[in-house]
Symmetry: C2
Subunit: 223 residues, 2 copies
DNA sequence: TCATGGAAAATATTCGAATATTCTCAGATC
DNA sequence: GATCTGAGAATATTCGAATATTTTCCATGA
């Protein structure tokens, strides 16, 4: 339930809808009608419209002129393409980061990893669901890793792909209990700090390939 | 001067403003105020606002909440980053295209190149300005080249970067009279058809590096 | 049974005005 | 002289109603 805001700016509504999309409140492919959204977020059509246009730019919703907006659909095919693209882009950025990153960047990576390592993956009250804090620390670790590459354009592309991947990840909350995610992160960190480009890239690649493997069964029926 | 449209849908206005931005009607960094835009495009604030929000998603304008919108600024630093990123992304896509592209794709590349070759670079009436037809054929050739890669996500990223580059290219209409652009395109085409990945990538890389060299002097004063 | 047409309902789009915010600049204060 | 203040102007944002479009669904005819 979104908090009742007396004043609803488009930014706030954009963030609320975005959070709801990632949380799975609106199903993939579902039509997003104005009247219900206005009621839910306590805003007029104008601000809903602007928020949706913004989200369409981010690729989370699809704008269909004169028909309306719908939640972006998911498919196994798209997940594979997304993951492959993400691996290529992040490998590129990580290589540059390892090549160009300074000590200040290194420290931020170590800090982000430490935070991730010390954040419990599941919350105490709902062990079936991945904790919000962990999701945040996880995203932050991967973003910081690439941060040293020095290319705003490349980082922007990587951020967009991460958002899209998060959409999939949150939508299907399945996970492999045998998987040593912490170990994978540690491996990436160590290879990066050792400035071992090939090893770091291989580990990053394996990390994401694992994720798609886990999500695959949940998408089997979606084509 | 934009054609007087009795009915102004946001799509039409979006396309008009976009064309004007690429044509340099609105200067980089300039504030885009609603009243003048409403008058110029014959639309109400709502449709102008939606068009600008859309353009902000494409990165051509910058949205500053509660302050308004402005044309994205240009800088030498950004041009260099953009070009480097574009080279990396397009190299990646071209490699995949050469690896995976079928005969149908090959034919489209040949066709696009033929069209580009037979389109005059400058129009008869204004030899100082690059012809609209040529710009279009040029963009189409480069897009088709990557088309065979089979990754919608990667193609989407490449398209965004091409748009950004076009913004720079059109803004500064300088060009090098000694440059053999047609030869460069032919070289890329031949290496691609020969499925010589390394040669094709090297030629694509050189092609874009040349472009930044030519644009550089015009941006010297912009930092 | 299936296709077609065309009201009626549902819905998206657009508008212009009402409101809120930011900017400008003259005057006051230190 | 420099900085603050606040009224007024300029501007962006938000609203709800008016308009246009799409969808639904039932009647009609092949």
């Amino acid at each position: 339930m979104p908090p009742e805001k007396a004043r609803a700016s488009t930014e706030v509504v954009h963030a609320l809808i975005r959070a709801d999309l990632l949380a799975g409140v609106h199903q993939p492919g579902e039509k997003l009608k104005f009247s219900p959204l206005c009621e839910r977020y306590g805003a007029s059509v104008s601000v809903i419209r602007e928020a949706l246009t913004h989200l369409a730019g981010e690729g989370l919703v699809i704008a269909e002129p004169r028909i309306g907006f719908r939640v972006r659909d998911v498919s196994l095919q798209d997940l594979k393409d997304l993951t492959a693209t993400r691996i290529d882009i992040e490998s590129l950025a990580l290589r540059y980061a390892i090549e160009r990153g300074d000590v200040e960047w290194e420290s931020r990576v170590v800090a982000a990893h430490h935070r991730l390592e010390r954040t419990p993956m599941v919350s105490a009250d709902d062990p079936a669901r991945i904790a919000e804090d962990w999701e945040s620390a996880h995203g932050c670790f991967h973003a910081t890793l690439l941060d040293g590459c020095g290319s705003p354009r490349l980082l922007d592309i990587a951020r967009g792909l991460r958002d899209a991947a998060e959409f999939y990840r949150r939508w299907s909350q399945t996970r492999d209990p045998d998987r040593d995610v912490a170990g994978e992160h540690k491996g990436i960190l160590e290879a990066t700090l050792a400035r071992d480009t090939d090893a770091a890239e291989a580990r990053l690649r394996a990390h994401y390939a694992r994720t798609v493997e886990i999500l695959e069964p949940a998408l089997r029926d979606k084509r």
